[in-house]
């Protein structure tokens, strides 16, 4: 919910984003295909997409595998109660582990919810995921006052976030 890193986009950027947020066309010249669709110059599309990547508005470009299909069946949301004054240092350590896909600082809701550090871990089986959780616990050491792991048992809705949805 922090708005500090908002970036100004012009109409051309917005058109490119809306046309590509569901994906790129698989053609030999995909940027030309996008340009044709939007009635823009191909060089301009290449330049703008390069800039969006540089600015971090595009995190990366590539294929996104369905991790269940790759055999990652044990996906846990691990949550940890660590001292606030240490969370940035600890969050970076946990986020740097190669089995952690997302790592965030979120607020506690005492007394129901004491956890402030969230890390998603992905294993091919339960044992692997359990080992990952132990590894994080080792890294946090005494800073870990309590923790738990939440597994998703059902996808109730999955529409993805798109610009245009909320406008």
């Amino acid at each position: 919910m922090r708005n500090s890193d908002k970036t100004t986009l012009d109409q051309i950027d917005r058109k490119i984003i809306e046309a590509t947020q569901a994906g790129f066309p698989i053609t030999a010249k995909p940027y030309h295909s996008i340009a044709q669709l939007l009635e823009l110059e191909p060089d301009l599309v290449i330049e703008r997409i390069g800039k969006l990547l540089e600015q971090g508005i595009i995190r990366r470009i590539g294929v996104v595998p369905n991790h269940y299909r790759l055999g990652y069946r044990s996906n846990g949301m691990t949550v940890w109660d660590v001292p606030d004054e240490k969370i940035n240092e600890l969050g970076k350590k946990v986020g740097g582990l190669d089995f952690v896909s997302h790592c965030y600082h979120r607020p506690r809701h005492l007394p129901d919810w004491p956890y402030n550090l969230f890390a998603m871990v992905h294993g091919r089986d339960q044992q692997t995921t359990d080992n990952y959780v132990s590894e994080i616990a080792d890294i946090l050491g005494d800073a870990n006052r309590q923790h738990t792991v939440l597994y998703s048992t059902r996808i109730l809705k999955k529409t993805g976030m798109r610009i245009g949805n909320t406008q």
């Binding site: 922090r2 890193d5 569901a22 290449i46 952690v100 997302h102 607020p107 059902r154 976030m161």
Partner: protein, 147 residues
Amino acid sequence: MNEVDRSIINHMQEGFPVCERPFAILAEQLNLEEKELMQRVQALLDDGTLSRFGPLYNIEMLGGVYCLVAMQIPEHDLEKVIETVNSYPEVAHNYERTHELNVWFVLAAETESQLEGLLTDIEKQTGYPTFAMPKLDEYFVRLKFDA
């Protein structure tokens, strides 16, 4: 999935070139023909091994506010509450999880005040409190998986 597909998935999760013939460049690195690479990526998308191909946007930099929300719903009311929560177009995804806080969804709104309004409305419509868990800091987003 064969070895070629595996190497494509491992090689193509980031760094898709931004130039005239990106598939040609990648095909050379993977020792494939451009056309074969394109066909394989298409086939992996078609059979669901890949969920998408293209840019992954940092949606928070595009405007709007996003918030993870949790709720604690007893079994007897669960399906009714899920239906109510899912009926909001602002609810992007929603998971049932193994905890007393058992319903977890992401709300997307235009402004902070709209988000607050949505939370209040969801509480009124469902009769249960919401626990807003906005991202205060992000340490890492990887989303890369070995095939």
